[in-house]
């Protein structure tokens, strides 16, 4: 049963030319490589399609924005604080500032807490609970922004309203609320990425520090965290990008008042919220659309700029830190 096999395709004395059965295989190989080539072309087309959509998106926004920049003049468009669409006054300054303010608050809250929590998870926690908690946080990172917004409206805003001195006119919809909710939203991302960055620090480094007599806490603070800085930096970056682009959350809790906030408890109107809320009104007033598209463009440009500059700084940082 097992030893009687059809003759093999070659003989021991030397190599025979390709035999019949191999030529059949040749045909089969041709057919399947036709399929392979088709698939490859289809794949390349898909890739090209995606690139085209992206390019189209950018160009369209640029064109629309350019239209309104030319019409209204860049100084008024970007730096004016007046936003009265019905009067044709479009100034994006307060929105840009609102976006910035909310992001800064969110990051100030989320970054230290997130990195410290990641430290607890990777450096201190025992294996069992660590896996459970990391899975839990991974799960929670999928919660959509509306749910955060809802939590903000239901929990955060009333708390702020109640804590503020009575009669001060604080509604609770403010920079602080938006910043806080955004912070909670980006926490899972920061923790996930920071954990990855900390895991990547070679064990040998920790062992070296400990064997020099340093205490665990000192090792973590001075050695591990410092070595993980580039990774942590990019975690912060991504969190910032996410926070800056978030629409729903800020639309629900930031207050939607176009002004420069004078304090944390003032309402504000970040760029994404502007874009979302003017849905429906865009067609009624001329130049409105252009101005809003400029807002969109501004958003992208800010994010891109921030990411590019920070990546450069991070790279230099990384080069200086890593010895290997």
């Amino acid at each position: 049963m097992s030893t009687a096999l059809p003759a093999t395709q070659h003989n021991p004395a030397g190599a025979a030319p390709l035999s019949v059965s191999t030529s059949i295989n040749c045909e089969k190989a041709q057919r399947s490589s036709v399929f392979g080539n088709l698939l490859r072309i289809a794949g390349a087309s898909a890739a090209v399609l995606l690139a085209l959509v992206q390019a189209l998106l950018l160009t369209t926004l640029i064109l629309k924005a350019a239209g309104s920049i030319i019409e209204l003049g860049p100084i008024r468009l970007f730096f004016s604080l007046e936003w009265r669409p019905s009067r044709g006054e479009f100034g994006l300054a307060s929105f840009a500032f609102g976006s910035l303010a909310v992001c800064v608050v969110a990051l100030l809250l989320a970054v230290p807490i997130g990195i410290l929590a990641a430290t607890a998870l990777t450096e201190y926690m025992p294996e069992g609970p660590r896996r459970i908690l990391r899975s839990l946080i991974d799960l929670l990172s999928g919660i959509p922004s509306v749910v955060y917004g809802l939590w903000g409206v239901v929990t955060v805003v009333p708390v702020i309203r109640n804590l503020a001195p009575a009669g001060s006119g604080v509604t609770g919809y403010c920079v602080l609320a938006a910043g806080l909710v955004l912070a909670v939203m980006v926490l899972p991302i920061i923790i996930q990425l920071s954990c990855q960055a900390l895991d990547a620090v070679p064990i040998g480094l920790r062992e070296a520090s400990l064997s020099l007599g340093a205490q665990k806490g000192h090792t973590v603070a001075s050695v591990t965290l410092r070595r993980a800085m580039p990774g942590l930096g990019s975690a912060v970056l991504l969190a910032f990008a996410r926070a800056a682009g978030e629409t729903m959350t800020v639309a629900m809790v930031a207050g939607s008042v176009a002004q420069i906030p004078r304090g944390l408890l003032d309402p504000v109107y970040p760029l994404p919220a502007l874009i979302a809320n003017t849905y429906g009104e865009l067609l009624s007033v001329p130049s409105y659309e252009g101005a809003v598209m400029t807002a969109a463009l501004l958003l992208i440009v800010f994010e891109a700029l921030f990411i590019v500059i920070s990546s450069l700084i991070l790279k230099r940082w990384e080069a200086r830190l890593c010895v290997q």
Binding site: A47, L50, V147
Partner: protein
Amino acid sequence: MRTISYIALALVLILLISLLWSILIRGLPLLDWEMLTKIPSGGFYLGGEGGIANAIIGSLYLAGGATVLGFFLAFLAVLWMHGGTNRDSRARRSFRLLATCMSGVPTVIYGAFAFLVMQAAGVRACLGAGILAVGFFVTPIIVRALDEAFLAVPNGLMESVLGLGSNKTRGLLTVAARQSVGGIVTALILGFTRALGNSATVLFAAGFTDSIPDSLSRPAASLPLAVYFQLSSPIEGVRERAFAAAAVLTVLILILSLTARFLERRLGRYMIR
């Protein structure tokens, strides 16, 4: 160091659990048969009766369609990346970078762009537009996830398969895909959950409505927008629907994420380590 780390961790957990709690405690009790299977009556903003079936079905249509489109495009593109280009080739790296940038574009930008295109084409907010717009949003996300899955396949495995006389495509489809099947399924589910949670894009592209769309040219409701629009209603019944929608959304996403994890482990039976 240890104490503040633990305090931070505790804080995070408290915040996240309180978030889940506040949504579910108010939303879950509202989920009865009527809420889940009836559409709102008397207009979604002012009519207090009925349920959120419009949002549930609409979300499933939108996210389902978008994920199918997205996965199709993404899988083809990743097959090209790993089969049609060489390791470390410039084409591969550029596309990877492109996908990373694209997945960082805020959803509202996709919405604004969809709005412009629809305006130019004379198309009104509808399910079809929503599927396309969310599909393009979700594709780069799935691309990156699939890319990671294929990257995890050891080089030597592909070399061995090629050494047996298989061509690259067949090798990718029969061996690499089987090795990374857990990652592929995760990518699919990840795309679906991101599509479900999308609010800013569907706002512009799909609109909102009380009814369940019966064709691609009708507007579609979605769970995130159901929360957004109905939360600020003066009618208690409408506000309750917002909470119900949030609860359904959250529970759905949590269950899907858990399923992804479970499947990843189960499907990895033949995976080599």
